[in-house]
Symmetry: C2
Subunit: 209 residues, 2 copies
């Protein structure tokens, strides 16, 4: 498979210091809002963990940015949950293709308070709630029909019983220590502006592309 | 920023065992070709490294899939190059949003032969060649105008001199040891089919979503 001639020149925008400002969260929100006007799912958030030096990467959905932390929900017993338990250093990536932009974040993941997970769990459609209960995420499933049968059983059960968040399902919040804002530019001379958290204040730098 | 109510139900496709087959490369190519009919840049490849247990994640472009290895090009002195030198375990992610599909790969990165890097370098537009020479990737750039000035100087210089690939720029090839093919399904009951390289043959498993 040869893709050597597939190239797009990135010419839509630029990222200069006056646009970047001094607050990475403000810039993130500005870019997020711009992405929201055109992307199917602007809150697609790619999260990588590192477990015994093996990075692993998958898509989750950003559900909140609150108190300067990025929140998503998952099964705490999943592979990513196990990886975070051993090593809370994670990286996040937002890639907004229509704007030819990336935001790269390095940070630390911790569990959100239980009440917050309860509240979000309750807000989900009931089929997703039951799906979270039915699935022992990342373990081996012999046959899809097993899962579908279990879903049907649980759907019947929960017609007559109150549904509660299972203890193994909840949120993580990621506290950023480093941001990079990447704007694709022509001839691969992309703009890269970083913010590092140094003793509580954000230090801005431009990097060579 | 509250995105809790932003949700899309994934209903377009399913991934059953008979479609998955027994060869992860064949399945990858099939999905890639399908993505190519609709995605802006189907060869967007998200690569994560792990350096001192800190994962880092960014977008590169897949340039070849040859001899069952995924090839991309970069600056060997970049942050990702340094991370790979210390720890060649990487993860790759393809996310094809229109088809609600992910392919997740864990593998080992090595440099491609020099001749292969030379050949690809020569095939690039001259502005990108000069861009690769002008940029000391990932180091601090005081001001964008410095880089632009350097580009202009180099463009003038290379009007009269042959251009050669700099030694610090070239390809990596990633040899997969693990694949996961993820197909979004309704009520978060996604299909996940993995292939693990076990003594040279691929062992297929389905995982709970």
């Amino acid at each position: 498979m040869d893709l050597k001639d597939q190239r797009i020149d990135y010419t839509k925008f630029e990222l200069m210091e006056d646009h970047a400002g001094s607050d990475p969260f403000a810039l993130f929100k500005r870019w997020f809002n711009e992405a929201s006007t055109i992307e199917i799912e602007p809150n697609v958030m790619i999260i990588s963990t590192s477990h015994n030096s093996q990075p692993e990467t998958r898509v989750v959905l950003l559900k909140e940015l609150v108190d300067e932390q990025f929140v998503f929900y998952t099964n705490y017993n999943s592979r990513k949950g196990q990886a975070i338990q051993d090593n809370p250093h994670v990286s996040l990536l937002f890639f907004w293709q229509q704007h030819q932009r990336q935001v790269r974040i390095n940070g630390i993941a911790t569990k959100v308070p239980e009440q917050q997970s309860d509240d979000y769990f309750k807000s989900r459609p009931i089929e997703s709630q039951i799906g979270a209960i039915a699935s022992t995420q990342s373990s081996i499933l012999e046959d899809r029909s097993q899962l579908e049968l279990r879903m049907e059983e649980l759907k019947n059960y929960y017609k007559f019983h109150p549904i509660e968040r299972p203890a193994h399902w909840g949120g993580y919040q990621v506290k950023p220590m480093h941001f990079e804002f990447w704007q694709g530019r022509t001839s691969r001379l992309h703009d890269r502006i970083c913010f590092d958290n140094e003793s509580g204040s954000w230090n801005r730098k431009r990097l060579y592309p």
